[in-house]
Amino acid sequence: MKRFHILAAALCCMASPLALGTAQAEKILNVGMAAADVGALDPHRAVSTQDKPVMNWVFNGLVRFKPGSVAIDGLEPDLADSFRRSPDKLTWTFALRHGVQFQRGFGEMTAEDVVFSLKRAADKDSSSFAADYANVDSITALDPYTVQIKLKQVVPGFLGLVANYQGGNIVSKKAVEQLGEQFRTMPVGTGPFEIKEYQPNQGIVLVAHAGYFRGKPKIDGINFKFIPSDASRDLAFSSGELDLLYGRQDQKWVERTKEAPGTVVDVIRPAELAELSLNQTKKPLDDLRVRQAVAYAIDRAGIAQFKGAATAEPATSVVPAGYLGTIDAKLFPHDVTRAKALLAEAGYPNGITITVIQTSLPTMLNSMQIVQAQLKQAGINLELQVVDHATFHAQIRKDLSMAVYYSAARFPVDDIYMTQFFHSRSTVMTPTAATNFSHCAVADKEIDAARVEPEDAKQQALWATAQQKIVDDVCAVPLFEQLQVWAHHTKLHFNYDLKGSLNLGPTITEASTLD
């Protein structure tokens, strides 16, 4: 037994002196993200949730969303000092800021880089967002500090495509050409933090970009750590190893985390709109009355309440609230009697069964279970075939599910969301497929007309009509909007008003500080 005491004592002794660690004079921000690894850090390839927060820190666009805001009407100059647009909205001319430096010694940013970068974003071989730039006709450098973009037709919210988001992030031409494949994990931008090291499976080390054009950041570096286990991530935050934490979209989590001293929970936009798409090609959902019955049977307020008032809001339309064009649509009220009557009228007095392929991802599965319980009240039996997330994504795109529960945020202009989810061109299993799982086609005309409508009021009206048509045809039943949840220790000061971030994680600016 004595040996055991010695062993235990040895382990303890080994632990304590080392536990003191080294005092760090540098201000390093530790961020914990729910992922096993990064997908891609190349801004034109970064599509996963875990990739996006980094974009905020490394890149700029010609214009930018104000830090902490997702409002597309609040865009302000970023790499461009100013811009002009022709009266027909087809020609945009940007005057670039002088003396902006790329990170890691890649030199001054000029019109050449901007042209290269935007063309790269528009090329499907190098960008995941190429489709957004389909209506761009030409991008040219008029001189080293002037860039002109010509459009084939009016693009709603065009400025968003040259903002600091997705394809609008400006990369260094020299770095792309010089780094080759390495650019995927070690990209070079003009933003406040530069990537110093990518550690597979572990994290990304960023350091302050000394030559940042708005001034050297007050925080010296960011350690972005991949911690896939929710429990471990929370523990690392409690132990002080993390200052900023990717939270859980869960009411209980929010309440518990708020209680901890020195902790702030950030519930931010954009919201992901969760909708239940009803496949109009599958019996009995081909009958409008049956689809209406489903809509009447769903209690949006009930779902939002169950998901938690802190992180979820009832849906207001078939497009997320706050996007350019979204209205407060006339949705079906919760009315179980009416639902039953409609089913009976359609020839199903004993109810129906809908078979659904459902992801095992817990947040999505538990929402669907609430829907399942609500539909049951009206005699609609939702049979869930639960599969893992990758299988789910593959199978719903093969048109195999009678209904699809999908939760998504898009660029905050209605055109994009509506086109991808409700335009017949986007119907699954077609050559131009996107995410139209319902085979919806009622609003094609309005969506197409709105896209090229130069007059704002008319465009808004077309979008409004489109939304109501989609609601009335019950292509999808909007459920609730899920906000993003983060938490930070009070020693971190963003120094701007954090309401949201299109990149799904808080922006760290040159002015942000760490006590």
Partner: protein
């Protein structure tokens, strides 16, 4: 000796081939699309088709299979579909972490399990025996992720002795060792349970042998009787268990690695599975199979070290 090793390696080839073929088919049978993972859920169908073509996923299955086998035979595990980096490189960066964790885990397991088993056998029915039996029961029945979280709560959050995030690099030995303690202990606990149980029963058997009685009658000190004469004979099954569980622990390290945020094969394989990264999964299986084959070989060789009667000539 060399011939024996070579023979065993040749005999392992059919196993490897079977594992590889099975994995090749399995990863492709499971629905899911690596192209969709890379391009994201806003990707257009044309872009997906183009990417599948570029990754060679649109060629016939048998063709893909032949290409894969030909590459493996040349020691080429290919390039990760999703991460676009050589699989060998990806594995090489994390393999030391997994091997280190497994070895230290086994070492701790044996270090604690062996004496525990011997003491339990020596004091059969006594309180040490009871403690040993309870400990092994706990070790066997506690899932690694529960014991891991409990340890973190106790020894990293309440008592801030160890870090929650266990990924300190090799380049910083003090921090690295400190980060290794909890995960290795966690893995070691499972081992303690097995080793203590097998040691105990082995010891009980050998302690009742005639030669032990003879040794005792001769007046050999009790310590020597137990730790030299009896233990040596009880070791064979222990070696078997350790060898066998080396492979199992490598697999079990998946949970430990995730809970303790260590880089390693486990984290890699979970990521590759979520991403449907076919080449990465295949490559990882090759590595796992090689490790298990290697561990079995080492076990066979260890028998000889423990028991001269089965030494290979």
């Amino acid at each position: 000796m060399l011939r024996f090793v070579a023979l065993r390696l040749v005999m392992a080839l059919p196993t490897l081939w079977a594992v590889l073929s099975l994995v090749f088919v399995l990863v492709r049978i499971v629905p899911g699309d690596p192209a969709l993972v890379i391009l994201g859920d806003q990707a257009t169908e044309q872009a997906l088709v183009a990417l599948r073509h570029r990754m060679g996923l649109d060629v016939p299955l048998w063709d893909q299979y032949l290409q894969f086998m030909a590459a493996v035979l040349q020691g080429d595990l290919g390039i990760s579909m999703v991460r676009n980096r050589p699989v060998w490189g990806e594995v090489a960066t994390v393999l030391p972490y997994t091997l280190e964790l497994t070895f230290v885990g086994i070492f701790l397991g044996v270090l604690m399990g062996l004496p525990l088993g011997v003491l339990a056998a020596q004091h059969r029915g006594g309180w040490i025996d009871a403690v040993a039996r309870w400990t092994s029961l706990l070790g066997l029945s506690f899932p690694a992720f529960i014991s891991g979280i409990l340890m973190l709560l106790l020894l990293a959050v309440e008592l801030p002795w160890f870090p929650v995030i266990g990924n300190a690099p090799f380049a910083n030995p003090p921090a690295h060792l400190r980060a290794l303690v909890l995960p290795a202990l966690n893995l070691g606990f499972i081992m303690v349970a097995y080793v203590a149980r097998v040691t105990r029963s082995g010891m009980l058997a050998s302690l009742s042998e005639d030669y032990i009685r003879t040794a005792r009658a001769k007046g050999v000190p009790a310590r020597l009787v137990v730790w030299r004469h009896a233990l040596r004979n009880a070791l064979i099954p222990v070696v078997t268990v350790v060898g066998l569980y080396f492979g199992i622990l490598i697999g079990n390290s998946v949970l430990t690695e995730i809970v303790f945020n260590r880089p390693g094969l486990g984290k890699l394989i979970v990521g590759a599975l979520n991403d449907r990264d076919y080449t990465m999964l295949q490559g990882l299986m090759v590595i796992y199979a090689l490790v298990v084959v290697g561990a079995n070989l080492a076990t066979d060789l260890a028998y000889g070290a423990v028991d001269p009667r089965i030494r290979v000539r």
